[in-house]
């Protein structure tokens, strides 16, 4: 009996989620469904790259230099081996390097956005709720940073952090430095939106009530205000993810990002550009196409999310 009730409530709950506005508008937006599917597939491919990739591109033991420059879907002239998307100059399978590259691009993108999000939300909450000097200092710093394009700020932070790390650790630390640089260049958006929303929320009755019963400011900020300002944060995070992936690719392409030992999609494009004139188009084309598909899908998903969650943000 109880079991039956439980199942019914579960199906009821599933049904109510299925029919909720949010899911309804998702199901009826083909672009959103398509881009979400693409993003999901790419994330899965990146996470399970070691299982999917036919070769381990970073294990020198499995590499054969004779396989270098094999065109896609054609057997190599010397070894007779064939690769879906061809091989690069060192005989690495392009499909496998893309999978591993996507792993790094997505990891850097996600981590950078998480860093920016946490930093921006915390500072935004503090600025909005406490006001006074805290607010002035935080928002002034935000204004100064907003004067400069984010990519320039990221380059500068990367340069400084590279200067601080000892030379022998630079390649090892590059990925973390990259996350730091992109994350720190991007917190302002979050802080501004959260501060604005906090200013609105803090004068509402439920916050006054919480204050009246003597809850600590920290508890009010985290337990009461934060849940009510999260929607726009989610939207900005999605759009930021697309921007962060492109920023990472740009930095790595310029040679101030992921090192050749841990190539991201940007590094792969940088490597591929060198073979543009000699006719090995596949080394460049496939990583570039992957980057574009990824960035475009995340962007489209973000656009839809913005409209679905908060029409006012348009």
């Amino acid at each position: 009996m109880t079991h039956g009730t439980a199942t019914r409530t579960r199906t009821q709950r599933l049904r109510s989620i299925w029919h909720s506005d949010f899911v309804y508008s998702f199901r009826h937006a083909p672009v959103a469904v398509a881009s979400a599917t693409v993003v999901l597939l790419m994330v899965l491919a990146a996470v399970f790259a070691p299982l999917i990739a036919p070769f381990d591109p970073f294990n020198p033991a499995t590499l054969n230099l004779m396989n270098g420059f094999t065109p896609p879907m054609e057997p190599n002239a010397f070894t007779g081996e064939s690769f879906w998307l061809g091989t690069d100059d060192q005989g690495r399978d392009v499909f496998s390097t893309i999978l591993y590259g996507m792993r790094i691009s997505l990891f850097v993108g996600f981590s950078a956005v998480m860093l920016a999000l946490v930093l921006g939300v915390v500072l935004g909450l503090l600025a909005g709720y406490l006001g006074g000097w805290t607010e002035t200092i935080i928002m002034r710093v935000a204004d100064v940073q907003l004067t400069f394009p984010a990519i320039l700020v990221a380059m500068l932070i990367f340069g400084i952090a590279k200067g601080i790390t000892p030379p022998e650790y630079r390649d090892q630390m590059a990925i973390w430095v990259l996350i730091l640089a992109i994350g720190l260049s991007d917190w302002v958006q979050f802080a501004r939106v959260v501060r604005g929303a906090t200013l609105v929320e803090k004068n509402k009755e439920y916050v006054q009530a919480a204050r009246l019963i003597g809850r600590a400011p920290l508890a009010i900020m985290l337990r009461h205000i934060l849940p009510n300002v999260l929607n726009p944060v989610l939207v900005i995070a999605t759009i930021s993810l697309a921007l962060a992936i492109i920023a990472e690719a740009t930095l790595s392409f310029l040679g101030v990002g992921a090192p050749p030992t841990q190539p991201s999609l940007g590094t792969l494009i940088r490597i591929g550009q060198g073979f543009l004139f000699s006719g090995e188009w596949w080394i460049l084309l496939f990583p570039a196409a992957t980057l574009l598909t990824l960035a475009l899908s995340v962007n489209l998903l973000g656009d839809w999310l913005r409209d679905a969650l908060n029409p006012r943000l348009r």
Partner: protein
Amino acid sequence: MLAYVIRRVFQSAIVLLIVGLVAFAMFRFVGDPVDNMLGQERTQADIERLRDRLGLDLPFPVQYWRFLQEAAQGNFGLSYRQGRPVSDILIERAPATLELAAVSGVLALFVGIGLGVFTAIRRRGTAANLIMTVSLIGVSLPTFLIGILLIYLFSVELGWLPSFGRGEVVDLGGWTTGFLTISGLKALILPSITLGLYQMTLIMRLVRTEMLEVLRQDYIRFARARGLRERSVNFRHALKNTLVPVITITGLQLGSIIAFAIITETVFQWPGVGLLFINAIQFVDIPVMAAYLMLISVMFVGINLIVDLLYFAIDPRLRVDRTGGGGK
């Protein structure tokens, strides 16, 4: 009015002081300046003497003040990598970047306004829709991929245009220009399109939106009712009224053109300030990084200030509440 101007100038000065502090901190704390200047064979006495000469034992604010004085005179010391004064290197590289930025800016402005007016007037036409769609793709393509794509089409496949460098340049008393030779002009085409494309789509979309807004206004309908020619209505009456925000945005974008030149210059190996900056990051050449930072912030802050003040002067409607608000 005067209060607003003074406050705006004061704010700009604060921003520059903060940026100066960052640049100074880079000099002082990223690596040891003494380490960077003395070779392997040095004695403790050498180190003491250099520390004394550089004033590294003075209190922090005094050091910062001395740094600002030197920076104001354009002295950023020697490049770690090239061993030459940073200011000399910057002056040598500046013409390449400025010419590239100027051509891209003009290109973006004229083509952007032209396409914007076109897409606004032929709002439902096939060509206008096509332009809008293409512009959407153009915005989502990263700059460096656009550059590579152009190189592939026009240098590799067609072989029409050079893929790197400035071509032949003429030296006009310290200012090298690529405007006077055929190869210099040809070398400018691809980089300036790459750099200007984003701004072009931005201006186009802005002009289109503003035009659609203005075309709905009563005075446009009256102008039509009076029997003015379509051309005259569109350009003499409508376009004129859209230009104030367009000029503001373009002004603000000037700064980012210079910043994004870093990417374009790397793709095309264009010997400008941006490529210098990227190389400086790769080799941790702190003086060049700091000097570039100061240079570009003076430019950004200056442009922002001028645009704000101009906007304020041009559009009287802003004067009422802007004085109380203190900016966004």
